[in-house]
Symmetry: C2
Subunit: 338 residues, 2 copies
DNA sequence: ATGAAAGCGCTAACAT
DNA sequence: ATGTTAGCGCTTTCAT
């Protein structure tokens, strides 16, 4: 049972390939009876169009290539879901690749994706090496860099400033009366956005004559378990901290769990601050501070941008779409739970 | 700066298209100098091959279509990561689609994906409607159904029996001395595997003359917050339960948080049991019971199966690969934490 | 070791 | 409203 082709459908309907093509796509005028005949023939033959041929011939794929660094916490899956939602009804299709925070792998994935002639490409972050950027530029398709705003975008840019997110969190925590800060994070050489948040946080600490009094950083990727482990180490080394800043909410959640196990009051004694505003963080039995990053929305907006740009070469003026994460979960010292 | 083609590379290298093609792919014999010339020309022109043309011409795409129901918890992203890992180095590429647990949407996504002429397709679950199955069969490519084993696979099947997972958990909990069971779940008409676990659990309860004394089920998708909310309702309705079974670990985690907030000892008074064995569940400050599902591994195995089947029509005998989730986190009544 | 011709399945452009 | 021709960029097949 070979796959049937347009030609076979046309023959079965007694019309030319072109008429069959038009009937199937609903473009231009085809008489009602002819359309019916073609649709029935297609149905009967279980016809499924061949997009390779379609795209090769029409010179547009309506494919949006997407490269994300990781699938091991919920952040990027939510971005992908946003992209998928933003593309819905547009006839465009997302193709995903995972770089595992590896620049070389990212380059190969991008090369691979570009060979499918996508109509646009969405990549995570602004820190691709020069050769990757060259490859991207060379593709002469819209390039949308998402999540981060701290750097020079190649073309379009949708995200937030992680440096500023770190600064804002530090300011909020200082305003809430915290002074004895510690930091817990992981894989900072790879997760550059986490590094930018930390740097921003430290800039503000410095301006107030403060600094991290204790810092626990591991090479492994972030996880709740790792956050727990590093928090135990941080508290063992410096028990009188009054605030811990984490590379993200997964780590911070682990930090909270460590405190609960150790009987350390949160936020009474220690305030725990993460980043992302995960649903999990908001459902925790004890409040932790976090910055809400609009992950799903960033994906959706990037996808809509891709649609608009591809639609008809429409000139888009807003090359940069910035979001500001809202800080939640910080209050005065009362309200402790251990 | 138009995209350069093989023809242009060939011209620049002073050879024919065919020779350039062979040099680039490293197939058959090309003299060392010729290869060099071609590679340099390709480099100079920033040549990126066109896979649409390649695939149309060669009649194979090396694409693996993957359809998952959701990206809103970590389970399917981990499956995708597993597939991505399992495909690495094979020259095959995964293309993902999200059905949102919607059968009609799933059918459209599958139709869409099939039009890209994938070499194999991986779909979640065994309960596709008849028309979707017909479409899949008609594609005459290997069909790999993952996650679930309870039903009739179209072709290949990699996963676990959710009915049995529910049964096993019920048996383990009864063996641990629990008798007064409640159930908390959500979206059971859509998440059929969760429903199968519940049914299996109830079968075993019935055999022991037991039943769920209280049951809280919502239409919304599972989340930690929802688990928390429904657990409060369940405990308000029936405070003397000694065990709650949840549709998954996200819900169960919410249940634990509810107990912590209410000061209900876990597992001293109530044992909380979920499903998945998420990293989160294992890092919780209080032990909950769960069944470890090998999500990443299922993805990896499915991907390798796709490789093998596609490789050279190799006949694969093992059409069904079954995993048995390990139950963890159940112990006797001591060890309580509130 | 290299090349020429044909064709993958479709659509764009131009008929009529 | 429908058909014809040419061609998208590559590989397959068959020559040489």
């Amino acid at each position: 049972m070979r796959k049937s082709t347009l030609e076979e459908v046309a023959a079965a309907a007694g019309v030319s390939k072109m008429t069959a093509s038009r009937a199937l796509r609903g473009t231009s005028d085809v008489s009602k009876e002819t359309r019916e005949k073609v649709l029935q023939a297609a149905e009967r033959l279980n016809y499924v169009g061949n997009r390779l041929a379609l795209s090769l011939s029409s010179q547009r794929t309506n494919l949006v290539a997407v490269v994300v660094p990781s699938m091991s916490n919920i952040v990027f899956p939510e971005v992908l879901a946003g992209i998928s939602a933003g593309l819905e009804g547009s006839g465009m299709q997302a193709v995903f690749g995972i770089s595992d925070y590896d620049a070389a792998k990212e380059r190969e994935i991008i090369r691979d994706m570009l060979s499918w002639q996508p109509s646009a490409i969405i990549v995570t972050g602004l820190d691709q090496p020069e050769d990757t950027v060259r490859m991207l530029k060379n593709a002469t398709i819209p390039i949308i860099q998402i999540m981060d705003l701290d750097g020079e975008p190649v073309d379009f840019n949708v995200g937030l400033s992680h440096g500023k997110a770190g600064e804002d969190m530090a300011r909020a925590l200082i305003a809430a009366g915290r002074r004895r800060f510690g930091y817990v994070g992981s894989a900072l050489e790879l997760d550059l956005r986490a590094g930018k948040r930390k740097a921003g946080f430290e800039r503000v600490l410095g301006k107030s004559g403060l600094a991290f009094m204790q810092s626990q950083i591991d090479d492994a990727f972030s996880s709740v378990a790792l956050g727990k482990q590093l928090t135990r180490a941080a508290l063992a080394a410096m028990p009188d901290l009054d605030c811990l800043y984490y590379s993200n909410d997964d780590m911070a959640t682990g930090g909270l769990f460590a405190c609960m196990e150790l009987g350390v009051a949160v936020p009474g004694k220690i305030l725990i601050a993460g980043f992302n505003g995960l649903d999990l963080a908001n459902a925790l039995p004890v409040r932790i501070a976090t910055s809400r990053s609009p992950r799903h929305l960033i994906g959706e907006v990037a996808a809509k941008l891709a649609r608009d740009v591809v639609a008809d070469g429409k000139t888009i003026d807003r090359k940069r779409i910035a979001f500001t994460p809202e800080i939640i979960g910080i209050g005065p010292f009362e309200n402790s739970t251990g």
